[in-house]
């Protein structure tokens, strides 16, 4: 540690000062950008967070965000119901079952990478063409969920894969040694120990669902009501912010709704990070 400090205190040439300032300047600027962004929205939005914004019904006089909040929750649950089994099972197959270096595994890896890179507007377009038009589901909660499920699949898969890989092989050997089969080993030993990592990944996915707009705008519609069934249209919080901000006369409500959305996202991020840190500590 003392040695380190001595390197840092070494006599600097002018160029070194430039480099020093560049690193510190940019590092601090990045932090400042985020603080400004969050601060701006919070300062402008919090004064307009009135109880009437949480009224059950949305009317043109009272731009309640409650229906959008409920719809968002519903979307999160339904999308996870579809995506999590597929994502987790895929990861289990890749890490625990697949023969190493098989061609199939390479194809699956490649497609997942492709899927992860596709922009959300392309998912939206696909959802509109396939689920809404070709399958005839129209703009609905169901169409939106399926579209989002495909979108978050690679995220869930990858985080699950990472946490399965981080389980030491001694766990597997121990289970095998006690006579457990592969499925029992996975179900009773590997999955429970990998659970926090998987959970952290799922929470990240929730963040993406909550914040998504481009993939939903043609797939879920924009009716502001608590959906009655899978085929009703709906509007999530993020879409609500988008619509409010595009109507000039609802700026205050837009700020307030943005604050709620931001709080949800920050909460989700903090939760995910806490879980991940605990998980990492435990495995050490």
């Amino acid at each position: 540690m003392i040695q380190n400090a001595m390197i840092l205190l070494r006599r600097k040439k002018p160029m070194d000062w430039v480099r020093f300032l560049l690193m510190w300047g940019c590092g601090l600027a990045t932090g400042a950008v985020l603080l400004y962004l969050v601060g701006f929205i919070v300062v402008k939005g919090v004064p307009h967070l009135t109880p009437s914004l949480f009224a059950v019904e949305y009317t043109t006089e009272n731009q309640s965000l409650f229906p959008a909040l409920v719809t968002t929750l519903l979307m999160v649950v339904l999308t996870l119901l579809i995506a999590v089994p597929f994502g987790v099972f895929t990861a289990i197959y890749l890490v625990e079952y697949a023969p190493r270096g098989s061609r199939l595994v390479r194809v699956i890896r490649m497609t997942t990478e492709t899927l992860a890179g596709i922009p959300s507007i392309v998912f939206g377009l696909f959802g509109y063409i396939f689920f809404a038009s070709w399958l005839g589901w129209g703009k609905s909660i169901l169409t939106g969920c399926c579209t989002l499920a495909i979108m978050i699949l690679p995220l869930i898969m990858r985080t699950t894969e990472e946490s399965l890989k981080s389980i030491p092989d001694t766990y597997r050997e121990g289970a095998f040694g006690l006579g457990a089969g592969r499925l029992r080993t996975v179900g009773r030993v590997i999955l429970p120990s990998a659970m926090p990592g998987i959970f952290a990944g799922i929470i990240l996915a929730v963040g993406r669902i909550v914040g998504e707009t481009a993939a939903l705008i043609f797939t879920i519609g924009s009716v502001i009501k608590i959906p009655e069934n899978l085929f009703s249209q709906g509007r999530t919080l993020a879409l609500h912010v988008l619509q409010l901000s595009s109507q000039g006369h609802n700026r205050n409500e837009a700020y307030a709704t943005a604050v709620v959305l931001l709080i949800v996202v920050i909460g989700i991020n903090m939760l995910s990070e806490t879980i991940e840190r605990r998980f990492a500590n435990k495995l050490k």
Binding site: I7, R11, K12, R19, F20, L22, M23, C26, G27, A29, T30, G31, V33, L34, L35, L37, I41, K44, F86, T90, I92, Y93, Y97, P99, R100, V107, T111, E113, T114, L115, G117, I118, P119, S120, I121, V122, F123, L125, F130, S133, L153, D169, F176, L183, L204, G211, T213, A214, A238, L239, V241, L242, S245, S246, L262, V265, I268, N269, M270, E273
Partner: protein
């Protein structure tokens, strides 16, 4: 049970296949009807007169992304160097979650921020002098996208900078280099391909961003030149999102919009391939441990 896991694993393959199939099946006929050259290099987009040329949008995407890279990458790179090598621990504990949070902030919020802060600021600065109608411009979109790609660039670059063996740094320092010199002249070049990968991923994010760009870019489907960065543009993504809402189903206009999506998709595929090529040679060299034979698995297979 193995079968169940395998079927689930095939779902992502199926999804990609379906996306390709449906996009191309609906996009290609439209491209053919318009004429591939006319579609890709046509300079006019006038749906009402059945003129569909997407060159303005392709260039719009290129300009806006280029601007974001020009502004965002240097800042992101220096920040990554700072995070990996110079940041004191207490500050790191605040900065790292902040950067992760930046990645999680939804694009509508960025867009809304751009609308309320960047656009008026640009209008204030340049509006009178350059006779602008509003602050919605290429510049606003580029700045906003630069902010949005920062976390991507920083996180990937930081990971790759950290994977440079410590011995290189120690060697440089032992030879009398100052800390800054060692970081800039030894560690940065050693992580070159990883840093390139970070830039490419940033490009991918910027080119695919839709809502935030739509909210600040002015959305004019007009051919622009790079020096007109104070004027409005339309990108590939915003072209789709602006007109898809009211287009008549099954019309040529509808097909042309899906074809715009196809062009975007092809761009993204190229960028992804570039990324995986760049990212591949780093891990193979540095993460030797991971590639060591996995005993339990081989044992179970026997």
């Amino acid at each position: 049970m193995r079968g169940v896991f395998l079927v689930a694993a095939l779902a992502s393959v199926l999804a990609v296949a379906l996306i390709c199939l449906f996009l191309f099946a609906q996009g290609f006929p439209a491209i053919m009807e318009i004429g591939p050259l006319k579609f890709l290099f046509g300079t006019e987009w006038k749906p009402k007169q059945d003129i569909f040329g997407i060159l303005p949008m392709i260039l719009g995407s290129v300009y806006v992304t280029g601007g974001a890279i020009l502004l965002g990458v240097p800042i992101g790179l220096f920040t990554a160097l700072f995070m990996a090598k110079s940041c004191p621990k207490p500050l790191y504990r605040f900065l790292k979650p902040a950067i992760n949070l930046m990645a999680g902030v939804p694009s509508v919020i960025y867009g809304f921020f751009g609308m309320m802060v960047l656009v008026p600021a640009i209008f204030e600065l340049f509006g009178k002098r350059f006779d602008m109608m509003s602050g919605d411009s290429m510049l606003a979109a580029s700045i906003l996208l630069a902010m949005m790609i920062l976390p991507t660039v920083i996180n990937i670059a930081e990971t790759n900078l950290r994977s440079v063996p410590q011995e290189l740094y120690e060697g440089a320092v032992a030879l009398g280099a100052s800390h800054e010199r060692a970081v800039f002249k030894v560690i940065l070049p050693a992580a070159r391909s990883g840093v390139m990968a970070a830039v490419v991923l940033g490009v991918g994010r910027a080119i695919g961003e839709t809502m935030a760009v739509k909210m600040v870019a002015g959305n004019q489907a007009v051919l622009r030149l790079p020096h007109e960065f104070l004027k409005g543009v339309r990108t590939l993504t915003t072209n789709i999102v602006t007109e898809m809402g009211y287009v008549e189903h099954g019309s040529l206009h509808n097909g042309a919009l899906i074809a715009t999506g196809v062009v975007l998709f092809v761009f993204i595929l190229i960028i992804n391939m570039l990324f995986s090529v760049l990212n591949r040679d780093l891990p193979r060299r540095r993460r030797g441990k991971e590639n060591a034979p996995n005993l339990s698995k081989e044992g179970a297979a026997l």
